[in-house]
């Protein structure tokens, strides 16, 4: 990937390589417990490759801990490409068509696009030794792995709404929006499913699982809900008081935001809190296949999961103590956590007719 290595990063590589050489001598290439005996040769081969190219939708800042831990442990450089969900998908299929595959792994929150890549043959199977430690819903045929569990929730402005007024359940939310129409008029925010892949996933998953989703959509429409293409954008408006409440946002971000932002509260429905997962796959013609495997194993390992959880992305493993994990998160959101399974179900709305129908219904409900 990187043709040009700056002087600074060259020195960095040299330094890490040196460190690793010494480290190797000291620990004689430790193979993690429970891993196959020949794993040492995979590590060796990965180190020879020297780089792993990651195409992702996750901001570099959020995964910096994971990246640093990986590079520190193995001395393998990460070429980190934050391309957004669509950008990552687009580059992978374009590169494959040109026979110029540069991506080794694709790590994205767009579960549907990732599953499409798998179905269309852009991914390759890899039986990760860490797979056994994942919940069964987070492993799709050893090809696509769930690496996080991120709840979908609500943020609100604490100056405008006191916590006790917030609805407890999904159904209560519909009533709440209806009953407070005057107060909330033009001050409700939600994800735009047309412009944001995440927004589409959140809403369409609700539509798959909740028969009353369209009542919610209608209630939001009656309140003159405004639509945004990012959770961060919605947070900005809720903190500033421009909006009072934002519905179906990425709750794991919100759990971090409320620690620092004044006026901001986070809330989850006790009966139903869906959660999506950032899913990772190895590309079919990955130029650094061994480094890719090592990276996937590391990301799913207890160490890697801890690094992610510390960065605010809750772990899929119950044995991770840093930050939140799938179990403690369930307690935090009130017991209604419903992770979206990594399976063909996420493809339901990739069907053009269904998708167009969904979006038309959505626009009708929102009165646009």
């Amino acid at each position: 990937m990187n043709m040009k290595v700056s002087g600074r990063s060259a020195r960095l590589i040299a330094a890490t390589a040196l460190m690793v050489t010494f480290g190797t001598a000291a620990f004689a290439q430790e193979v993690p417990t429970g891993y196959p005996a020949d794993y040492a040769s995979l590590i060796e081969a990965a180190k020879k490759e020297g780089t792993v190219s990651v195409y992702t939708s996750t901001d570099a800042a959020q995964s910096q801990k994971l990246q640093d831990a990986f590079t520190k442990k193995y001395g393998i450089k990460i070429a980190y490409n934050d391309l957004g969900t669509n950008g990552a998908y687009n580059q992978v299929i374009s590169e494959a068509a040109a026979g110029q595959t540069t991506a080794d792994v694709v790590w994205s929150s767009a579960m549907d696009l990732q599953m499409t890549l798998v179905q269309d043959g852009y991914a390759s199977e890899y039986a990760s030794p860490e797979a056994a430690n994942l919940p069964s819903w987070a492993n799709y045929k050893n090809t696509l792995f769930g690496s996080t569990v991120e709840p979908v929730g609500v943020i609100y402005n604490t100056k405008a709404l006191s916590e006790d007024r917030l609805p407890k359940t999904y159904a209560d939310m519909i009533t709440f929006l209806k009953d407070n129409k005057t107060e909330l008029q033009g001050k409700v925010a939600t994800f735009d499913p047309e412009k944001s892949g995440s927004g589409f996933l959140h809403h369409s998953n609700d539509a798959r699982n909740r028969s009353d989703f369209w009542d919610l959509a209608k209630a939001m429409g009656d309140d003159g809900a405004k639509i945004y293409s990012s959770s961060g954008g919605m947070k900005e408006t809720v903190v500033s008081g421009e909006n009072v409440i934002a519905i179906n946002i990425i709750g794991s971000y919100a759990l971090d935001w409320v620690k620092e932002s004044p006026n901001l509260g986070v809330h989850f429905a006790t009966d139903y809190t869906p959660a999506f997962s950032r899913v990772i796959l190895m590309t079919k013609d990955a130029p650094h296949p061994n480094a890719a495997k090592l990276f996937i194993d590391f990301m799913l390992s207890q160490e890697g999961q801890s690094a992610l959880a510390e960065g605010g992305l809750p772990s899929v493993r119950e044995d991770v103590t840093a930050g939140l994990n799938v179990k403690t998160l369930n307690e935090r959101v009130g017991g209604g956590l419903k992770p979206i399974a990594v399976d063909e179900g996420v493809l339901e709305y990739m069907d053009q007719m269904k998708r167009v129908q969904f979006l038309n219904d959505w626009k009708a409900a929102l009165g646009r």
């Binding site: 990937m1 040009k4 070429a79 925010a189 004044p262």
Partner: protein
């Protein structure tokens, strides 16, 4: 995208005048025709490769590299029967014309005040009025939400004073006003250079017969600069059609959609990107541009009859404004600068140093450097800043060299190749940066000998040169045309070839102008954002495109910090430009 600031063209008079003095029929020998054709041919390839790819893509049923792609008009059928397309087209038209209705009169007025009257602080004003042009529209829009959004600090202040916030920037009129005010410099540039070349005897004659200053400007000056005004209006309509940042940030939440945000939506609407639909909308935008180029050429041809009034060395004297006139004029300019520069930059500056803002938030309590600290911890963001500076400073210099080569190829060139040049220059401007960036990404991916360049800054540089072409070339042409033809003629008559003439006469004379052009191109490259979105990768991040990718997750703290850095860098570039004596105006 709004990257392309309009050129300080207004070759209107000078070019025509030059054409008159310098015969169109040149001796075939030593006229560097081969050079001209080669350079313009190479440029045409660089421009037409991505544009051609987009046009080709629009006639396919799937991505051009997909085995399922078949030739067909399905994409056109979809777009032309989609009621959202027409809605977006209608909104875009209202937006563009509204913008022009604000920008053209104001820009014309500013040009008149600064070039034809004795307004105070002229030197300073000449620079200040251009500042809005150098802020990227995404930064601009973001800054406005913090200062004059529903809970912006200025809005809250006004609400405390009078009880209500009397404006709403999240409406079509709000967007039009903001876009209109920020496009005033684009009009000013064209009109002011036209006005500068007007002889003042006519105005003086009118004044001596007792006409008021406003009568003079209306009945004498206005008719003479009408072509420039019309052209500026047409150009701004085009700029309105490709504006992305303002509708994205201000229009989106309320569902106000324009063509560029419609294209953006097409990337996600069907789950997987539908390139053919994006391509169709891009083709529509190209088709809107072509008549504009045609019109520009016509205007330049007719401009001769206006230029005929200008005698050589006509002395330009200024109209006296008087005390109250000064006061009114300066207040108007001051208020406009406050709205279009102080408010957005103030908003960004505030946001960069706080973590939260708005109703019930005391900004002083929120004061922090954390946004910058955190940014510096992320290598890719730091690299982005470094890359942006490298690309602007060195890339900008290289770009000036390229534009000079192209400029020379078009210099005193009245042949067929010049017609080609006129048409290809404006093409990249017609396309949204996101689309042209995607096309370049494909070119670098699928053209075999180019593939090694894709993961380097070279790919971004090539795309930037093409995107900045219309601005950069006009800048260079403006400098070249100032070389008096007599100098070139005397070199030629003493037996120098045209190459020799350029090397020993033209280039030495324009050298000071090149330094200024370099600084301005630097600023244009600094504020570029949409073009790099698809091209940048690990190691080749640039600030503008990083902001677009961060916008998808909404990391506003980082975006604000990056925006402020980009503004500071732009300020430095502008200061440098002035030190180097950039001829911003002509």
């Amino acid at each position: 995208m709004s990257t392309h600031a309009p050129a300080p063209a207004a070759l209107t008079m000078t070019k025509a005048a030059a054409e008159k003095r310098y015969p169109a029929r040149m001796p075939k020998n030593g006229n560097a025709n081969a050079y001209r054709r080669i350079v313009i041919g190479l440029l045409a390839i660089a421009v037409l490769a991505p544009v051609g790819l987009i046009i080709y893509q629009s006639f396919l049923t799937a991505a051009f590299f997909s085995p399922r792609a078949k030739f067909g008009f399905d994409a056109y059928r979809y777009v032309f029967t989609d009621k959202n397309f027409y809605r977006a087209l209608g909104t875009t038209a209202i937006f563009s014309f509204g913008m022009v209705a604000i920008a053209v009169p104001l820009g014309g007025l500013l040009a008149f005040l600064i070039t034809r009257t004795d307004i105070k602080a002229k030197r300073l004003l000449e620079i200040l009025v251009l500042v809005p042009m150098f802020i990227s529209s995404i930064v601009l829009a973001f800054g406005y939400t913090v200062s004059v959004g529903p809970t912006g600090f200025v809005s809250l202040f006004v609400r405390d004073l009078i009880g209500i916030v009397p404006w709403n920037i999240y409406s079509l009129p709000g967007m039009i006003l903001i876009a209109g005010l920020s496009h005033v410099p684009h009009v000013y540039l064209y009109v002011s250079s036209a006005m500068r070349n007007l002889p003042s005897d006519l105005e003086e004659a009118a004044r001596t017969t007792g006409a008021s200053i406003w009568q003079v400007s209306r009945d004498v000056t206005l008719p003479m600069v009408l072509p420039a005004l019309i052209f500026a209006a047409a150009l701004n309509i085009l700029l309105g059609f490709e504006t992305f940042g303002i509708p994205l940030v201000l229009g989106d939440p309320n569902g106000i959609m324009v063509l560029t945000t419609y294209i953006y939506k097409l990337t996600t609407l069907f789950g997987t990107p539908t390139y053919q639909l994006m391509a169709v909308v891009a083709v529509v935008l190209i088709l809107i541009t072509l008549p504009l180029v045609w019109m520009q050429r016509r205007l330049l041809r007719n401009a001769r009859k206006y230029a005929a009034m200008g005698g050589k060395g006509a002395r330009v004297s200024t109209l006296k404004l008087g005390t109250s006139g000064q006061l009114i004029a300066l207040s108007i300019i001051g208020f406009w600068l406050f709205v279009s520069v102080v408010l957005p930059i103030g908003g960004i500056a505030v946001r960069a140093f706080v973590d939260a803002w708005g109703e019930g938030v005391n900004l002083w309590d929120q004061l922090t450097f954390a946004n910058f600290d955190r940014m510096l911890e992320v290598p890719s963001l730091v690299r982005g800043i470094i890359n942006t500076v490298v690309l602007s400073v060195f890339g900008g210099a290289l770009a000036v060299g390229i534009y000079l080569l192209v400029g020379l190829a078009g210099h005193r060139n009245w042949g067929m190749s010049n017609t080609v040049l006129d048409y290809i220059v404006l093409l990249p401007r017609a396309l949204p940066g996101l689309v042209i960036g995607l096309a370049f990404f494909w070119v670098f991916l699928f053209v075999p000998f180019l593939t090694p360049l894709r993961p380097t800054l070279v790919s971004l540089f090539v795309a930037y040169v093409v995107v900045g072409l219309s601005y950069g070339l006009r800048l260079l042409q403006g400098t070249l045309i100032q070389v008096a033809p007599e100098l070139e003629e005397s070199a030629r008559t003493t037996g120098a070839t045209i190459g020799r003439t350029w090397k020993d006469v033209v280039i030495p004379i324009v050298r000071p102008g090149l330094a200024g052009a370099w600084a301005l191109i630097m600023i244009i490259f600094l504020r570029e954002y949409a073009t790099g979105v698809y091209l940048m990768g690990a190691g080749t991040e640039v600030i503008g495109s990083l902001m677009v990718s961060l916008l998808q997750t909404g990391a506003m703290n980082t975006i604000a910090a990056l925006s402020l850095i980009s503004i500071v860098l732009t300020g430095a570039g502008l200061a440098l430009a002035l030190r180097l004596g950039a001829k911003i105006h002509d």
